[in-house]
């Protein structure tokens, strides 16, 4: 039976989680089966179960890996000495780069989390809600400092995060600009739009 090939840095489980993200993105979490996953990894379905217990566990890992990544990032940003508008730029660049380089995982975490089961589902929703609140607080600080246009902060979070999720179409488009150019274009529009 074939063994699961791993890269230099990844464990076998990492390889499976990465393949699961690609598969869930292609077929949707609901429609994807463990048999599909085994095929994409190139092993028998039975040998997957040496590394993971269930499809739900894979979804859980993908969602929380992504959520924790953003959580750690915003924690660093919050404690930095930068001005609010610079903090926002750092946050946005991180979102954009994650959507470009870690697309399938971020997509699953953004779209398929509703298939998580409790208590994970509520934990995930809380973490997501809190992240957005912390993002809004930085915007509010910028408004208070007179650096950012007077807008409703939660609405601004909603607008910019949805704009970033548009990178999904960029992935699908045939004649596309480079990732760097995309990042600069988005920062130009969104950060200049927030600036007073």
């Amino acid at each position: 039976m074939a063994r699961i090939r791993t890269g230099k840095d990844g464990s076998r489980k990492d390889v499976i989680v990465k393949a699961a993200a690609a598969l869930f993105h292609e077929k949707g979490y609901k429609a994807a089966s463990m048999r599909d996953l085994a095929e994409s990894v190139g092993v028998e379905a039975a040998s997957l179960y040496n590394h993971i217990r269930s499809k739900t566990e894979l979804l859980h890992d993908i969602c929380f890996n992504v959520a924790n990544l953003f959580w750690e990032h915003i924690s660093k940003v919050e404690t930095s000495d930068a001005k609010p508008i610079e903090k926002l730029e750092t946050l946005l660049r991180f979102h954009i780069r994650q959507m470009i380089e870690n697309f399938q995982e971020v997509y699953i975490s953004d779209r398929e989390w509703r298939y998580l089961a409790d208590p994970y589902l509520s934990n995930f929703q809380n973490q997501r809600r809190n992240y957005r609140k912390r993002f809004a607080v930085i915007i509010e600080q910028g408004i208070a400092d007179g650096e950012i246009n007077k807008i409703d902060a939660s609405t601004a979070v909603l607008i910019v995060l949805h704009a970033v999720s548009g990178i999904e179409s960029w992935h699908r488009s045939k004649h596309k600009i480079s990732g760097e150019e995309l990042e600069e274009n988005m920062i130009t529009i969104l950060i200049d739009g927030l600036k007073k």
Copy 2:
């Protein structure tokens, strides 16, 4: 048997199409049945067929009603004497208001069009692609005039239209600002972000 109640201006068919949009939004096009629709309109399923032939016909009507609305609007905007940046503001305000006031129809037309059958599917996709191109042309005119930041125009279209689609979350949120405030916030962020 109950008759289909109509408003002052609407035909019976309009009432059915409107109810279909609400139902497709709630359940998804695939999962929604003609029986569900009959129930929501308050008539027997059989009597729906006096007005429409199939579920696909309803999807077709919703998608093309919305597409034609945007098509007519951009045609008027293109021939106006306004500057490109003003044209963009007019287009964006129209998108925003449609997402607020005509939400269910716009949502279906944006998300469920993939269930259309050919030749309607290809027609719809062409119309959508052409609309975005015409939108991009206006941005390019603004860049050429030095009014708009130098960015990739198709990417800018992608970014602003995705930002506007974020109004979906606004509809779901509990503590929400008014539609007018939402519109002004979005215009502030997006138009100021495009302006040079």
